[in-house]
Amino acid sequence: MSLLSVVEQAIKSCKAEQARIKDSIQLYREILHTVTPQPNTDCVESDSADDATAADTDVSPGEKEDIELLEQALEKALWVRTGTGPSKKGSNKQCAPRKETKEGMQAFAASKGNQTTTRSTSKSASLARKEQKRPGTSVSSTLGSKASASHNPGHHKTSIHRNMIQNCLVSSAGIVHHQPARKSQQAVSASGCVDPGQLHTSAFHSKNKTNRGNVLSGNDLGRAAAISMPSSNNTAPVSHTAESGAPCLPQQNGTASDQTAQWRSLRRKQNRLWDKVAASQRKPVPGRSHFMERIRATFPKDWPCGSPDQTRALVDRLTHQGYDLIQHCQTQELVAKQTPETATEPGGKTLERWQMTAAELQNFAGQVKQEWEAWDRWRPEGGCLCPTRANSVWSNGMVAPLPPTVTYTTEAELRELEKLRMRVALLQQKMHLEQALLDTLSPQLSSIVPGPGCPDVSVLRDVYSLLGEGGQRFPAIVLDSEPD
């Protein structure tokens, strides 16, 4: 396996996590939108406003710049490709063509993203995902200029735009379809953002049937389009039932508030139940321990204590501690070699302490190894003894407790907690990779012996920066050709 593929895998898992977070974000938005009273009743305007703000908050300023630059570049490419120059755009209204080109660019970017190689796909795929909301925004604002768009003298351009919009929706449909079935509701509500886009597309559908084969073949979005068509423009609801296919009318005030109240009371009930469950965990259960002792008495004499899972976790933990200790000592020695004047008494004492700890670790590790081997002797087919990071095995090992509850009082606390969690996870990932890099490169490095033939300078530079600076800064390597 190549180190490159490992890093690529890590990137993929990051992206998968991003998709999951995005799902949760949409779900929470949906819930909040329903549960908290909305000030305005006109949904279409609020939808597009929401989408605008949503799109804005999704994209940070730095990324916005990137997207602008990309759009400009793609705009140029489109001009070259379609043969339309900036001069032809002057024939239309000022605002409309700019927005149309913009949406065309975005759709073009999305469709391009489907075709290009891995490097740019990763970027434009993420762009396409963000921009599946953008067509909604820009298209809804061009709804008024729909008439002028269809009468665009550049018919060539319109059909390309149409194809691109549909391709963009196809790609968003494709992306949306990857979510598990349970989240199909959210997929439908995601399409709520693209709702005005559906109206636009459906309008085109009715005009030009040849393009129908392209897109929206019998999936949720298609049904959504069919549903949203008959509903009046003023009260297009945010989400609609995909399964029933019935047009979603705004509910009566009574049932809606009932539902919210019901949800609230259910959630509060759940909280209370959790508290009781947590309290029940604290009570000891003598019958259970008695039963376990009796069963243990039937085990053979040399049956190890605990369980293989505990031993696995212990081996993993000891391995990490051991490597940590080794690294401590090594670094200490290297630093002492470099600066001999600072290597004095305190260094000696810590070194001795480390050696004692190392001896202790060795003995303990011997015991653990014996235990591991004992488990291995009894291992049936399919049992696993690979050291693994302990997930649900605690130091007392017996009962894997339920998810704990973290209580907080201010939003800032929760945000800090989550930020730290993510930072620690990312840091672990980074260190994992750096360790793998070191392991991979060290045999190559040790083969660079002094002698005739100059090794590749750029390779040395790169390796130094990767291993010594985390890839952030680079050294300078100078050829010293003066004879000493």
């Binding site: 989400s239 539902q259 930020k419 980074k430 300078a476």
Partner: protein, 417 residues
């Protein structure tokens, strides 16, 4: 107070009914009826055994104790047997039919019966499988949990890298960093919304919004199921002890049977390779070999004495590795943080529970069910500091080594940034 046998048996049946309801509420499909349990105690025959095989298999698969991929090729009874055997071993259970059943299909000389399966089930329940099932189900159904962040790639031991692809590697690492930053910002957004949702739960606004949504309806259904699950669990906890008393009687029945010769050692010495390959102990042993050696004489003396002491302990059977020796436990180690947890917004002032702010917890407390976020934050900060220290130390060592290496080369001079 002597109770009539009938009353006891009715109570037992109710308790087992509670257990079955709980198991069903966790999403298991193969839960037998309470009567089947009773029949199993007295050896119910193949039909009863079948039901219990199914139950054990589905429990082990749902909780992830046994990875499913290892058993996909097998079918039928042998699949159940092997899967259950592996799963039970994984939790530290021993029984003759678990380890000795390589050759015989139907069991060991007719001694195997559904009672053995019942005992195995009891063991699983005693070692916390119910809680695992509960956690698994809660994770499936609850949308507002704080979930784990799985970003660590699996590494195999042999990795290659061509020097020509160093540039691409640098680009990929930069790209990974960018993805990490995106993750951080998205997480921030999500947390903000999560707080808003948790806040909305606690509100008692009277104004009625004018729209309903299917998402909320689905939410209500899920939360209702969760509430049912939690209630079933609470019911079970209240009557748990009766169940264990009954299981004791099952053990009695089992032990009064003519006892089969207990194997005192493993059946055969073949080490079976687990599906991950055989890398199990390599890294561990490598670490032991590379540990810094102290002054030989001193260490050997102490080491020998300790070895002799430990060897004596070992012969008694099962050395106790549950507690670490003192110096070792003082070594900094990454706290094992839980994977999933609930966030709870407290609007009223929390009751002081004697938590002294000066105490910095270095590891997750033994059985925490509720933790103030400040404590959790402290733990995470501690973990982050450890990791950063480790990383910087490694980088320093790398730098020094590389500088040394380039220094040995005649014509090159390395100027660090």
């Amino acid at each position: 107070m002597r109770r009539s046998k009938a009353a006891v048996s009715v109570e037992v049946r109710q308790v087992i009914g509670a257990l079955c309801r709980l198991l069903a509420a966790t999403g298991l499909h193969a839960v037998p009826a309470p009567e089947t349990f009773r029949r199993a105690k007295f050896g119910g025959g193949l039909e009863v055994e079948d039901q219990f095989w199914q139950l054990l298999t589905s429990i082990l698969q749902s909780t992830g104790i046994v990875p499913c991929e290892a058993f996909n090729q097998l079918e039928g009874v042998s699949k159940h047997r092997k899967l259950v055997a592996a799963g039970l071993w994984q939790t530290g259970y021993h029984a003759d039919w678990v380890s000795g059943g390589e050759g015989g299909e139907g069991g060991q000389g007719g001694r195997f019966s559904s009672r053995d399966l019942l005992l195995a089930l009891g063991w699983l329940l005693a070692t916390g499988t119910l809680e695992k099932l509960l956690t698994h189900r809660v994770q499936q159904m609850d949308n507002i949990l704080l979930t784990p962040i799985p970003v660590n790639p699996q590494l195999s031991s042999e990795l290659q890298l061509h020097s020509a692809s160093l540039r691409k590697l640098q680009w990929l690492i930069g790209s990974l960093k960018y993805q990490g930053q995106i993750l951080l910002s998205m997480q921030e957004e999500r947390t903000r919304l999560l707080h808003a949702v948790l806040f909305a739960i606690l509100q008692t606004s009277v104004s009625s919004p004018d729209q309903s949504s299917t998402v909320l309806r689905e939410e209500c259904v899920c939360v209702q199921q969760l509430c049912d699950l939690l209630e079933a669990y609470l019911n079970w906890k209240q009557v748990e002890n009766v169940f264990w008393t009954w299981m004791d009687s099952v053990v009695d029945c089992h032990l009064t049977d003519p006892v089969v010769e207990k194997p005192t050692h493993a059946p055969n010495g073949i080490t079976r390779v687990c599906h991950h390959g055989n890398r199990g102990l390599e890294k561990f042993e490598d670490m032991i070999l590379r540990l810094p050696r102290g002054q030989k004489g001193q260490r050997r003396g102490r080491g020998d004495a300790e070895d002799r002491g430990e060897r004596g302990e070992r012969l008694q059977g099962g050395s106790d590795t549950s507690s670490l020796p003192p110096l070792l436990s003082s070594l900094p180690s990454l706290p094992t943080l839980p994977q999933v947890y609930r966030a709870k917004l407290q609007t009223e002032k929390p009751i002081k529970r004697g938590f002294r702010p000066a105490e910095v917890p270095h590891s997750w407390p033994e059985t925490p069910d509720e933790l103030p976020s400040s404590q959790a934050t402290q733990l995470l900060l501690h973990a982050e500091a450890l990791l950063l220290e480790r990383r910087d130390r490694q980088r320093l060592a790398n730098r020094i080594q590389l500088q040394e290496m380039v220094g040995k080369l005649d014509e090159l001079v390395l100027i660090p940034p």
